[in-house]
Symmetry: C2
């Protein structure tokens, strides 16, 4: 692509708070021209790429010094954006940050939009779209799992897989389209049995990737854990004890919690998203009834259910509901009020949310359940709603093509469906993109990235 069509952009790329050092980026065709005007350092102009230069930056209008800076020079395409780039390492003062940005703008640079450096990296072929998205995920990762998935995606494993599937589809689609040109001769350039095998493989791999989204999304947002039980068994107290804060209102009035209260907790590097719910019972209270309905909806999205009873009431989930959810933890709360020993057939964890006993055992069980489904080292896990949607969109025409193949439907119809699938797979890596899509992706980025 033509990098000459871009203007020159600048932004503060480190945090804006007072610190030892701040970093300002400048990228685009005029980056070096502007740097040479404001930077009074020796040797910068003739210097090679990937070199560091100490000197002072001045405001050319007043000739006043703004700061003593360390300048990094990157000659395109050997830079993050693929363009000529300069990074100014300045003293970490908000005043100096503002002065530097003002001078860069006065010299013709424009303040970069969020993610615009990464957007240029994508447009200049330095990374594909899913890699660019990984940059954003990497910065916001707060647990080892999120971090590992983002790094893997940044490295490009996922993109390579999608590209490989797509390239093979393109090859077949082209051969089929070629057949159309020779339709009177009734030739088959594309081997139907090979294509059938290929489609089966691609559909299978796509489904595995789609399935991984539930896990990927859970890792990104926290493994959803729902706390359910009869009213007043101490669900809100358990949430508060787990989070170690007074998040949910606790009272001895049954039906206190109506909204679903949620918050995440990091247990040994795994992020769990706990949801405290309205106690399930027959209720006449209109608001409480809505809450109980909501609880039942949330049960379907939860990955782990903590099923709480106390010494007075039993579990509220029915046998049928239990069968649908393998990841169930049975908990008997208020062990402080009921200090008798467990019955022999009681598999539940005895806790006292109020006295903070048994909570470690509960956490260990949560980790055990997570580990059963945790991704393996070489497993590719989708974490992006956008990638998931594109895969789902590709699956429909893929399955249609496979069915058509089996029914010996004519090549042009199959080729058309293959093209739809190729289009949707291309959206993931950005081989197919449009301005709206790019804007919506990169607007979620940090300024300066």
């Amino acid at each position: 692509m033509d990098t000459q069509s871009f203007d020159t952009i600048c932004a503060l790329s480190s945090g804006s708070a007072q610190a030892a050092i701040s970093l300002i980026r400048l990228s685009g065709p005029d980056a070096f021209k502007i740097a040479q005007i404001i930077f009074m350092g020796k040797h910068f102009k003739a210097a090679e790429s990937q070199t560091l230069h100490f000197g002072k930056c001045i405001d050319p209008a007043s000739m006043k010094t703004i700061d003593e800076v360390l300048l990094s020079k990157f000659i395109g395409p050997k830079s993050y954006t693929g363009e000529d780039m300069v990074e100014f390492s300045i003293h970490g003062s908000p005043y100096i940050q503002a002065q530097m940005i003002q001078v860069l703008i006065a010299q013709g640079a424009r303040l970069a939009n969020p993610g615009e450096f990464s957007q240029r990296a994508f447009l200049n072929g330095k990374m594909d779209l899913s890699q660019a998205e990984a940059v954003c995920d990497l910065i916001s990762a707060t647990t080892p799992q999120m971090h590992a998935l983002a790094l893997k995606q940044l490295k490009g494993g996922f993109s390579l897989k999608i590209k490989a599937l797509r390239d093979r589809l393109i090859e077949f689609a082209s051969l089929m389209e070629l057949e159309l040109d020779f339709s009177e001769e009734d030739v088959e350039f594309a081997d139907r049995s090979h294509l059938e095998q290929l489609l089966s493989n691609i559909i299978e791999e796509s489904k595995i990737l789609c399935d991984s989204f539930k896990l990927g999304n859970a890792i990104k947002k926290g493994i959803p854990v729902i706390i359910v039980g009869a009213p007043n068994v101490g669900k809100s107290t358990l949430l508060n004890t787990l989070l170690n804060e007074q998040k949910a209102i606790v009272s001895d009035v049954a039906g206190t919690t109506r909204d679903v209260i949620e918050d995440t907790l990091n247990i040994k590097g795994i992020s769990f998203r706990f949801m405290d719910t309205a106690g399930i019972r027959e209720s006449e209270d209109k608001v409480e009834k809505i809450g109980i309905k909501k609880t039942k909806d949330y049960i379907d999205t939860a990955q782990i259910i903590i099923n709480v009873k106390d010494h007075q009431t039993g579990y509220v989930l029915t046998e049928k509901e239990i069968q649908q959810h393998q990841n169930l933890i049975y908990v008997t709360n208020k062990s402080d009020l009921n200090p008798q020993k467990k019955k022999q057939n009681d598999q539940s964890i005895f806790i006292s949310a109020k006295e903070n006993t048994g909570i470690e055992e509960l956490k260990t069980e949560l980790l055990n359940l997570y580990n059963l489904s945790a991704p393996t080292n070489d497993q590719i896990v989708i974490t992006s709603q956008r990638h998931y949607a594109s895969l789902i969109n590709a699956l429909t025409p893929l399955e249609k093509s496979l069915e058509d193949l089996k029914h010996k439907v004519s090549g042009d119809l199959i080729a058309q469906n293959l093209r739809y699938a190729i289009h949707h797979l291309g959206e993931i890596t950005g081989e197919i993109s449009n301005e709206d899509l790019l804007d919506s992706i990169f607007s979620n980025f940090c300024i300066g990235k």
Copy 2:
């Protein structure tokens, strides 16, 4: 000094908040050894100083990737600290920051103390003490004036001046001490009239520098402006209007304000520190009396006094007090209640703090008064309490020496006083320093600087 006696330190030098990029510094004898273990980049080992390298950083314990980073290599003494140094430009994620620091520490680096990089720069002769202190001032500068003074000090003009004065004193003191070895021969190596001239010059220059501290301190902390007047003329309302917030409690009860309420306001880049005071009147209220006493103390430290009256009361400052303070602004408040025209001989600014009228005129007058005393471009202004104290400590023996010279006191006594002065001047630039002094200076720095 021997850089080999230092260990290897690391710190996060950019802000810790989530951002596009963060910067981690590593400095000391093992900086390159550690970098080679964790950085998987080509060419780093053999690379020249002042070069940039892209690659990934791993945790050697798990061989897991931590981040893709840009590494800056500085071979000592061509670095900020004067030691071998590496800067890691990483993705701005708090999670990655923590991982990187943990791995550096696991490889033998130590978390740096606040200002420890600058302290090493000082100890390795990369900058003197007053320059190192300027780094801290530069980062915290919030107005053009503070910024300009800190940059000037960082450039070293002040240090050079102090060093030059001190070197000449050392020369004379040495000559005088030499005379002691030849005391029986009654020679005078040190020309007494030259020394007298020199001492006069040094004393004069030191006094000018000391005098500049009042201005320097005012620029650093905000020009102190005190608002005085009789009770209930609207001083607190004026403060609130200037600051554009409800800082001081306002009521129509005379004597509402007792403590001195202060806050700074930036007017066209100049920082003013406004102090609202208890109204001055005869009072029986014990707390109010203490407040009035305090007001009178503050008047002495203020650089500008806003003397407020309203249409009912007059000014409370006496003629004598006015003569002591040249920078007085007369203000007549409550012009909304008293819409008559000014009397011909009334030089005061008519304002209504309540209606926010006349406030711009008052601000302009404040700027005018500041500009009368603003430092010129080549004027050296002291901003540090420590430098001021050292100069004052040097002045006493300097003046004693000058007096002794005039009274033909013997050279050994004069030389001793010169040594005292030389000692105190040396404290400013750090030629004389001790661990406690350095610790107290650098502990005020940011981490990572």
